[in-house]
Amino acid sequence: MTDFRLVVVSAGVSEPSSTRLLADRATQRVSALALQRGHAVTVTTVDLRELLPELPTAMSNQLLGPKFTRAVDALVGADALVVATPVYKAGASGLFTSFFQVLDNDLLIGKPVILAATAGTARHALVVDEELRALFAYLRTLPVPTSLFAATEDWTDKALGARIDRAAKELVLLMESGFARAVKDESWGAYQHSYGSAGGTELGIELDSDLMRLATGGSLRDSDEDPFDPRRQV
């Protein structure tokens, strides 16, 4: 059976944090379910609070400090993610969105994700589906169908546990499908990349392109139409 690497990203800032607690409950269910199905799961947790000192430089200069770099490296190798944020002022925490805004667009392509949020009131319940889902769609991840949201009253409600089970099951099934790896192997080139993107792993150089031909004295104009094209054999 396959071993999976799960990365948990939590933007909870209090200690203990209910956001982190929700992420951990989902993570435990994922690990347990995967184990039942014969997979070992290695969990790496990224507590975004610890990255706070490095955030300004990352946002203004794209210069990643050592903790940021470790987080990106973990995400590069992740088979799936559990991401969790508190809701502030009717939106995901700024720390949470900033972190994902700094990452390369092609870092998480095809990876399954459990989206989770906590709030002080149930009136924020749609933040996960209306805000997080859009962000993770942009990153071309594969969010599981069941979103996790916990307001104060949910912590004592068995229904939250049921939703966690459901989301965890969905995540395990998606991991088992090997979708992200297949995308990486079979259609990675169909996505937009730039030199050094995908967390510094995208370092291949394609020589067979119009721009590379232009770099080597060629022309962008169709050689049949361009009487001055030096490549033309007259």
Binding site: P56, L63, L203, A215, T216, S219, P227, F228
Partner: protein, 394 residues
Amino acid sequence: MQFGIMSVSDITRDPVSGVTPSEAERIDAIVKIAVHAEEVGLDVFAIGEHHNPPFVSSSPTTLLAHIGALTERLVLTTSTTLVTTNDPVRLAEEYAMLQHLVKGRMDLMLGRGNTAPVYPWFGQDIRQGLPLALENYNLLHRLWREDVVDWEGQFRTPLQGFTSTPRPLDDVPPFVWHGSIRTPEIAEQAAYYGNGYFANNIFWPKEHYQRLIRFYRQRFEHYGHGTQKQAIVGLGGQAFLAKNSQDAHDRFRPYFNEAPVYGHGPTMEDFEEMTPLSVGSPQEVIDKTLTFRDAFGDYQRQLFLVDHAGLPLKTVLEQLDLLGEHVVPVLRAELAARRDPEAAEAPTHAALVTAKYGDAEPRQPRPNANRGDNVTGGSPYQDSETAVAAYPSL
């Protein structure tokens, strides 16, 4: 190995005195800094090109020609010349003229420019920045090597029978560096033409351009210009010096904290750790600079950024004194001792003349009398008479 300084020509408020220099003061200061660079024994002065305040250097060749008249040894270059928003025909003309005026003591570094609003001011579009840079250089390359150019591309109006004047000094084009830290196409173009490759070495994690420099070296060899070790690499860097480390940190910190590009962000210590910035005693700057060779191999040119972020002229001149007296001589000796004998020398006009002509006299083009156009013949120059087709006889 050449050592020098590069300026971006920013006019920044001095955060310690509160004074913002006038454009007139800053231009005078840049000239003094360049002249002093020669006085303290540096080899190269590079000026940037910008077309928006708070920068002042919009016309690099005018500035460099003036500095050339005030100096004797200093190699004058750019950091960078915008190959996107400038017409390559004007670049060919202006830099050839500069080359004549400073008797070959110049070269230039090409870059794209990353300020989107500047492009439309010159009728261009930043989204086409890369193809524009590549195509423009292809044309520039030919304009300096062919007396008469017929050309048609995607971006510029076509040329028929065009001669860029003056022809390069000794009919040897200025040496060209291509500056880039994340664009494989630029590295490929530099390699294809056997030109130099320059990494500004200021921000980006070095692993990215380390890979690009390796790629450039491999492709340089692939295109038959020499071995990988003979490829021509230049690096930037920034330094602030004082006799001891603590003074350097204390004096530079207010400027670092307010610097236009990275100010109000990371701490100076973090930035020193994460980037090539070195703040410290001469020995510390020497040690850090020596790591560049370990990372990128033997290289031909080291340029330091020293006159930015509102540092007053007096401080910049002192920085040059320290660089010239305590840092560069040691770096010269240390790097010479470590240097692979196969590594290329830094490019100079004299070396390029020798490479082209050996012991023979360089070509000195003399134009034929004006015939109203240069479309109908081969070359408008006397020494190419045989190639002139003249008018058809009936």
